[in-house]
Subunit: 211 residues, 2 copies
Amino acid sequence: MQIKGISAYVIKRLPRYYRFLGDLSAAGIKRISSGELAKRMGLTASQIRQDLNCFGGFGQQGYGYNTDILREEIGNILGINNTKKIIVIGMGNLGKAITQHVNFNDKGFSLIGLFDEKESLVGNIVRNIPIRNTNQLDEFCKENHPDAAVLCIPKEAVYPIAEHLIRLGVKGFLNFSHYDLALNFEGIAVENIHFGDDLMKLSYKIKNLDK
Amino acid sequence: MQIKGISAYVIKRLPRYYRFLGDLSAAGIKRISSGELAKRMGLTASQIRQDLNCFGGFGQQGYGYNTDILREEIGNILGINNTKKIIVIGMGNLGKAITQHVNFNDKGFSLIGLFDEKESLVGNIVRNIPIRNTNQLDEFCKENHPDAAVLCIPKEAVYPIAEHLIRLGVKGFLNFSHYDLALNFEGIAVENIHFGDDLMKLSYKIKNLDK
DNA sequence: TAGATTGTTAATCGATTAACAATC
DNA sequence: TAGATTGTTAATCGATTAACAATC
């Protein structure tokens, strides 16, 4: 039921649908119409129906959508059921916090390794996983075949490591660095998180609040 | 030169322009054409010229753009020169990492306070700022008038604190929680960062890589 | 001046919204 | 059956791209 050519705008909304449906489920709401969901999410009913119908007809005329089933379907579309192995490169402040804070399991990933080049960090245990030296990446990947990597390393360090990881079969990156992976490698999946950009956008929005 | 009604798509690209221009500057490149910048950023020259001309004519026909001047102009548009006071609420793993990792100064903000309700964290110093008890928020805000807040607290805790902060004059939020601030308060600026959503998008992209 | 590249208008493309027949 | 709400087509709106006259 997976069709190619879904717009990035639709994809971006899927996790949010997933979250809201989870909340509805948790609140014991078994059934939801596109109109009601739209109201709760600040969207239009049309948009929700269009988005969902990119992937199939999950509703029932006259009734609406079954909350649990729709949530599960969106989970399937996102590939959350198919667990992918992920590692974290760079266990400084940020890498450590991401490791501790993010629930990878709920989002389609299983965290299997942590790496840092700083010898003083190697051996430390975070979330029951020992930090390994980055120079063991090769061996580790050949044995464990991670599918994705979280990059919490400075811009300068990214190119060689990414190049290496891609050769070792890693095909997805959650990228916190300012190195533009998507621009420099083909055929890989990249999500960028740039706090600085978000802060600057916030600055703009505050500046233009009452206009 | 600030015009209302700039599309969110344009705003979103501004910080990225700002970063790329910074890199060019640092590399000693004094002059750049929309065509060359487009190539480096993976955009079209048309789009860059359209984006910039939302705010004014920063280029010169036959020449292109002066790297430093364009960067500064974009900085002005983003309001980076006008320093706003920001505080962090919630100094767990994430709040601490954000505090240590992000350079607020470069992005239009000055970090002036850290808060947590956990007594065991109160008094700890992070980046030369002591963590205060959240119950001192009122007093602190009345004295220091923060403009914005980074929210690193769980969903359930957000509503009362946000409501409180807004009453105390805070008008911008960098929101890491899953509470939908923008939906529940009006006239404030909000930027959401949801790692989970990004991970799910990454999951989708990996799943659909070779289609 | 000739060449280059902008600023800007026009054309195209795609996303969102509206409308409504199908149907539960 | 009558009412509700989907799935889907059509209309609108806006973003991106292309084209080109202005001009440095």
